[in-house]
Symmetry: D2
Subunit: 277 residues, 4 copies
């Protein structure tokens, strides 16, 4: 009767300071670990003999981070998932998700400071590593990359029914918080690939002549596949962060497409996966 | 190259006041709609002719709520999903999720008030209806049902490795925010079934002699299946809301299992589906 | 050049379990402590000799809670503020704020359970104790008490100018999240007084024939002073949680004051103190 | 019996797009307005004749933004507060608070894009304008400027009592989310002054040899007064965003001041105003 099940530790927060010299590095990640396998006795009989405490998973993250977290989050995810699989014979799938909060070096007197940092907030880099006895799948991505464009976006020619009141527009604000994830065909230089793919997403968002969120989403995904042969598929989730033009006519003013109220609720949500043929 | 895709409107907030007489009803739900189907032209070519605006979906919710939202959220979800499927030939799957925020009647001078209400917060009742041309699947559930027990919970006899520092305990606080969803074999009296299943979850949580979160999760799921033949499977997601005993020994005091610090991060997360054989 | 200054520990979370017998109690509070006094040397010269670490304040809360937190949060606030003042000669003002998250006993098989609890969420009971060498001021209150009424609320006859588009209404939803605080003339039975004043606020909210939020706010405050002679003043902060009627006319339907969209932003905010003459 | 009272609209969200040419500007602010004055009749008698609806305040913001919001938020705050005072004889104090969410221009192909933007998140620029019939007080500031330094921060030599367990440290991470506000002696170039003062805060934070948060707070405030004669006082609120070294000794490792767990609760909170003599 016990079907799919998993257990693990979420929201493990880790900061590592690297001090190779005077110039320090400041890395901040949040990690979630989930293990799947043969845990029927724990569920049915309360037999914990095969249950590694989630507290131990947390400890393991800190202990292994000291010697092994000095590169991309994807690499550390591979290491962690391998560790849990290697040391727990009952486990057949180890899932590790990492979310990195970027910290930027402060600029003081025109120069990057060696040990002072600023957290810009908002955007996070993500990875999910799913590892079985057969191998590991690595998904990379980002979330919270909030962008807007004030030109080259329309929404017109759409289907209308008896409940449609939306006006067509040929010049609207298009704003979204990009959530993207993609799969690599093979191991790559994760940091370089991430930076390049992120820039492709931004370039295409900015440069696209948009007929809809769907249209721009597809263009962004297609560009990632076109420019980055190492990527086999990309998934995009784009909430439409609506900016509604305010009706100024009661005040004898015309809204010259310049005064908007941004709204949080409700919001359109457009999601798709684009995959190589 | 376009693979899975969907679009829709999320976070549509609806309040309906029913005034059958002096005694009003106050219903508050948040609704998300997502449609899947043949929308390749919209993505690839920016051709919106088959795209019903998400703004129209929102309008539809309000318009249909007036005559058709007077019972369980499951029933309204079935109606909404049917509407979108019936009126959009390109759509092959309509997903509707509803989340109800309960409002309780205020008690004034010892009596339930006819038109004043209080929102207790926290817990929400949920449903997800997935409807295709072949039929509808209804999932019911709840989230944010935060509970704790101060007795009859242990965690001992677990696996230890070199990173294990956790002490065994035979008397700990067990606290969680229950997230549960279940599937009905056939249509039922949704309100009655919901109330009964919710009570089963609470009864079992309170009465169980717990060896672990897994153990209690399974017992809760098993009880739902045992007492509610209309349910074919139940999924539970139980974050372990840790309450750590404070070390009072530096102050010459002994923690007699009475002083705790509740923590938000990190947290254990135990998830499983229990299904009939 | 150093003017007003304070330091302390915020968001100290404490859970205390009382086990006088089989029937346990579960208390959950969050505490903030701030001390003011002569701390110029710490600021100007980095001289920490008079600075009690905020970590020590946290420890003190846990240590003192074991023997001294068994009644109202106001009483524990008085004890804590007295402790810090008594043991730190440089301090001339100790401010302690406590926020209690209520937990209710679960009802199982029709009976209150001895050791299982549910957290309803939303509402919190508050107190602020400000203690100097001359004495202590105790403010009691609550926040997050979200209420709505579907009758007996109007807003009409208001001032209009060239930017006014709001329609008058004689039957609207009035909803708010009550934040209230009040001052006692002298020590009282804090738990009994709190429960009675809270009920007065709810009674008056429900029963008032409201011409505006201001009007209801004043009526609530006046009732507290009228019914509770131990209170010298009451402050209310009432956000107007707007429920906007949806325009259904484009769909050939009339909104019979039954379909609303609740909005979070923007919101009216009405605040006032009502004091005895 | 009615004492202090105010009413207004909060969380008014405004986006303005400026299109002086091909190169657009994207401004996003959130505005709160509160009016104080003679509103006794509204409270006591439900007489709304002097009550300008808060909905009108919102409309006014949008209407006036079109022609008058093209510079610093301080300037728009002065204009708005003046408008409400001029047009409402019963009002004797108009408080306007503005919070600007910065949006940065996207860089595409190495060049700033003319109409695509990114919201970095986190930090916000603030102003509060309080205007009476006698004049206006302008406070400028910021919040959410989260910073950390991995060197030059100690906390030692502090007061110890029976509840003190904190270890002294001569090399800790110092992290905080700067909230700062300051008052100008006279009108200035608000944008230039803001940028310069913000940089002073960062320079001093980074360069200071810190003995405590208090010590660094004071140094930051003193630098603002020293370098910016137009400022008469500065207030700083610095939460101590603790980074606790993880004890790795159970795993046979030594924490070489490199592995930390950042915690949200509890947190130290240090606040002070520094004023010219």
């Amino acid at each position: 009767m016990l079907a799919e099940n998993s257990y693990g530790k979420s929201a493990i927060r880790l900061v590592k300071v690297l001090r190779p010299g005077e110039r320090h590095e400041f890395r901040a990640v949040t990690i979630a670990i989930a293990l799947e396998g043969d845990f029927e006795a724990a569920h049915v009989a309360g037999d914990n003999r095969a249950v590694l405490p989630t507290d131990t998973m947390k400890n393991t993250v800190y202990a292994l981070a000291q010697d092994h977290f000095d590169g991309a989050i994807e690499s550390f995810g591979l290491l962690l998932s391998g560790h849990f699989l290697d040391h727990n014979p009952r486990v057949n799938l180890a899932r590790v998700a990492l979310s990195e909060q970027p910290w930027e070096r402060l600029v003081v007197a025109g120069r990057p400071h060696p040990h002072a940092f600023r957290r810009p907030g908002g955007e996070r880099r993500l990875t999910r590593v799913n590892r079985t006895r057969e191998g590991a799948a690595v998904e990379a991505g980002l979330e919270g990359l909030t962008v807007a464009k004030t030109s080259s976006s329309a929404f017109a020619g759409f289907l209308r029914d008896g409940y449609t009141t939306l006006k067509e527009t040929h010049d609207r604000i298009l704003a979204t918080a990009i959530q993207a994830s993609w799969v690599y065909a093979a191991p790559v230089d994760f940091d370089a690939a991430f930076a390049a793919i992120r820039q492709t997403l931004l370039d295409r968002f900015a440069g696209h002549q948009s007929a809809s969120v769907q249209h721009t989403l597809y263009a962004m995904g297609e560009s990632v596949l076109a420019r980055h042969p190492e990527v086999t598929q990309v998934r995009l989730s784009l909430p439409n962060k609506h900016h509604l033009p305010v009706d100024l006519s009661p005040f004898g003013q015309e809204n010259r497409n310049d005064i908007f109220v941004p709204t949080e609720e409700p919001y359109g949500l457009i999601e798709a996966t684009i995959r190589r043929d």
